[in-house]
Amino acid sequence: MGTKIQTTYREAVKAALREALQNDPKVFLMGEDVGRYGGPYACSKGLLEEFGPERIRDTPLSESTFVGAGIGAALGGMRPIVEVMTVNFSLLSLDQVVNNAATLRHMSGGQFSVPVVVRLATGAGRQLAAQHSHTLEGWYAHIPGIKVLTPATVDDARRMLGAALLEPDPVFIFEHAMLYPMEGEMDETAGPADITRAVVRRPGRDVSLITYGGSLGKTLQAAEELVADGIEAEVLDLRVLRPLDVDSILATVAKTHRAVIIDESWRTGSFAAEISAQIMERGFDHLDCPVQRICSEEVPIPYPKHLEDAALPQPYKIVDAVRRMI
């Protein structure tokens, strides 16, 4: 085992970027304000000075073209890391993802790899109102041909990028914007993360709380609150939305016989709906009661704090759902 150090999610992302740039001369970072500004979330602060403007490229506000250029550069033998400032702006580049990145290998009969990594900040919670608070990783997870990672811990923020760069296919890493200042432990020397498995973050026996990304912290908090009721909740962090580790979902449901899914996306057509369907199809016999979902309310995310809080999954909502269930 390597050395465990205490740091922030933001610093973990930066350490991962630095390591990637050091390890492979074909790796470069491009995106809006990744260079001189230091990154919109300060994840690339100092990298321009360290690696120079050829490898830390500030782009114009042209999401479709710089994501497409990342795909093209990957086709041309480079190892681009493209940063789309937030998932909200990624709507402008969705065509390049859906029609090009995801299709080229299959559509060409296996002739082309698109080894591009795209990083995006996602999620709500900072009173940024309806246009800057989207949670759309579930949309991305709908698309065959790409992989979707959602690091929820400092260690995953540190080690998932390295794993993504070993993939020959497009990988999308969604970093919940609320997580950047979060402190946690990371292993400096452990190498790339396993990006095939979900991980149980808290073992339990009474109910499975299945979540990912920015909702992990809220879910763990709810699990602690439930201890007072004598309820031991198991918390499963999905970590990877595509390809989904269904076996780990079934394993926890087989153990606890109850499942609540916590997902910040809107309820209708949410990623939580997919998990629920997987449990119905393959784990129905394990269930003692219907699967429940805690998702965002079906509203554009509002600006005032009390309304934003009301719109999003919260620990009390998780606790209430579990109490009703048991």
């Binding site: 990342g70 550069a73 086709l75 390049q96 029609n99 009969g109 296996g110």
Partner: protein
């Protein structure tokens, strides 16, 4: 419009000229056969014929080197053939057979060949331009003296990606050769009905991208202009745009009532058929006899028949392989 014919006349050899004619005829006859195969139900989906525009693919691609990359559109049979993908593999691809150039998975709109650096047909208008910018970026960052040629139509000029790609390629000094095939219609919407400024080459200059307008019905003019542009890009490392004026003789796809243009307009452009015009030019120069033309046509006809036979004989990809190559390692 510039005509390079005069300046090139003395440089073009008979052999080269006949090769250009041969290449254009290969495209024309392949597509005529494809239309026939479509009516027989052998080819399905969309089939966008390039007939009338052959001089551009043939002239421009002759000016590129084997290390240069090509990004094309959904009307790309001509580009694929001119680049060197075999007629067999193209026809088989249109048939959806596993011996096609994309294993039958792409069809008419998605022809690929990695070995020829033919990065494919893109069927979302404008979607190929950022890819070309990225390919050129990769070449530049790896210190390779290569150009990426990107074909697109006048319709793509209305897309944001055209403007973004011009800007980024110019901003970063990337060796992209933007080749606009202006056939005056974005599907059925005329240029003057979709562009406030119909001079496409002029738009490029707004992004500090050098540009010119060339007669796309004149294969020698196309080749000469492209050679000059390639030379400029190799010297400067900067992008360049050529707007080729051309015309699509057939429907947009296979079914199209052509309500948006007049028969007179179509006939006027057909009078400028790039193959017929070049044939007359070669005859006048004393370089093409009836027997020469008959020989070329016979060769091409045999190649086309061979391609149909190849496609007919090709295997269907097994259904078990449906999910192969979605990702490198299949999802569980």
């Amino acid at each position: 419009m510039k005509s390079a014919q005069d300046e090139l006349e003395i440089q073009v050899t008979r052999e080269h000229a006949l090769e250009l004619l041969h290449e254009m005829l290969r495209i024309r006859r392949l597509e005529e056969k494809a239309a026939e195969m479509y009516s027989l139900g052998k080819i399905r989906g969309f089939l966008h014929l390039y007939i009338g525009e052959e001089a551009i693919a043939v002239g421009a691609i002759h000016a590129l080197g084997p290390e240069d990359a090509i990004v094309a559109t959904y009307r790309e049979h001509g580009h694929a053939l001119a680049r060197g993908i075999s007629m067999d593999a193209i026809m088989a691809e249109m048939f959806g057979k596993a011996n096609g150039c994309s294993r039958g998975r792409g069809g008419s709109m998605h022809l690929f060949d990695a070995s020829l650096r033919f990065y494919g047909g893109y069927a979302i208008v404008g979607g190929g331009l950022p890819i070309a910018v990225g390919l050129a970026l990769a070449d530049k960052m790896q210190g390779r003296d290569r150009i990426t040629a990107c074909f697109f139509g006048d319709g793509a000029v209305a897309e944001g990606e055209f403007h973004e790609s011009m800007n980024l390629a110019a901003l970063w000094d990337l060796p992209v050769l933007f080749l606009c095939e202006n056939n005056y219609y974005a599907m059925g919407t005329a240029l003057e009905r979709h562009q406030s400024q119909t001079d496409i080459a002029f738009k490029a200059r707004a992004y500090a991208v050098g540009s010119e307008t060339v007669d796309g019905m004149d294969v020698l003019a196309v080749e000469a202009a492209t050679r000059r542009a390639v030379d400029t890009i190799r010297r400067t490392g900067k992008p360049y745009l050529i707007e080729f004026k051309t015309y699509r003789f057939r429907a947009h796809s296979m079914y199209d009532a052509e309500l948006y243009r007049t028969k007179e307009e179509v006939e006027a452009w057909k009078a400028r058929d790039p193959i017929a015009g070049f044939t007359v030019y070669l005859r006048d120069a004393g370089w093409l006899s009836d027997a020469d033309l008959a020989t070329i046509e016979t060769d091409v006809a045999a190649e086309v028949e061979g391609a149909v036979t190849f496609a007919e004989a090709g295997p269907w990809e097994p259904v078990e392989d449906l999910a192969k190559d979605v990702c490198t390692i299949p999802a569980r």
